[in-house]
């Protein structure tokens, strides 16, 4: 029961950010949606690690938390006018 509520809330949030990514009028809107989707995904990976009870799954989440913002920074540099 716990898991249905928690994973349901997070999945609904992911659906909303994907909708914003598909609809968003300008490119920065989409990047904002993808950036917060990355954060939501990091939390989701940790929660799934608890659900499946595997310690090694936390490493993936760590890599994600450390690396995923490089993509956001690259796109932000592009929008500013230099790479």
């Amino acid at each position: 029961m716990n898991w249905i509520i928690v994973l349901g809330l997070i999945a609904l949030g992911t659906v909303l950010t994907i909708l914003r990514t598909a609809l968003g009028p300008t490119a920065p809107d989409r990047v904002v949606a993808v950036d917060s989707m990355t954060t939501i995904t990091t939390a989701l990976l940790v929660l799934l690690g608890l659900l499946m009870d595997r310690y090694i799954y936390l490493d993936i989440s760590l890599v994600y938390a450390a690396l995923a913002f490089i993509a956001t920074l690259a796109i932000a540099r592009y929008l500013e006018g230099g790479v």
Binding site: I5, L16, V32, I40, V46, G49
Partner: protein
């Protein structure tokens, strides 16, 4: 006892993650979306990750490290995105009150050839 506290924190975190996504969907312009997307998802991710650490106390150090990374990198990326979207010429919402950015030259978009 720790398990119950951990589950409460996971619930709070999931709720805030959902509210952040809802804010991204509802708010009218990029800057307000950035506000909702940064604050709510940072606290939501922080709370649910530390909650997992409390449910499973042997995992606490690594979950604290992940939460610390999120706390450090999320404001930086949102700051870069906000600056980039101002420089690329995204207008503020029409209900905005004041725009001090116009007084500074560095904020304005640089005119350049794209070819």
């Amino acid at each position: 006892m720790l398990t119950i506290i951990g589950w409460i924190m996971i619930y709070i975190g999931a709720t805030f993650l959902f509210l952040g996504a809802l804010g991204i969907f509802r708010f009218p312009d990029v800057y307000n979306r950035l506000q909702a997307g940064t604050k709510c998802t940072t606290l939501g991710a922080f709370s649910s990750i530390v909650g997992v650490g409390l449910v499973h106390p042997a995992w606490l150090p690594k979950t604290l490290l992940i939460a610390f990374f999120i706390l450090l990198t999320n404001p930086i990326s949102s700051h870069a995105l906000g600056r980039a979207s101002y420089k690329s010429g995204v207008k503020l919402w029409e209900g905005s009150v004041i725009d001090k950015c116009k007084e500074f030259e560095e904020c304005q978009k640089k005119e350049e050839e794209q070819e």
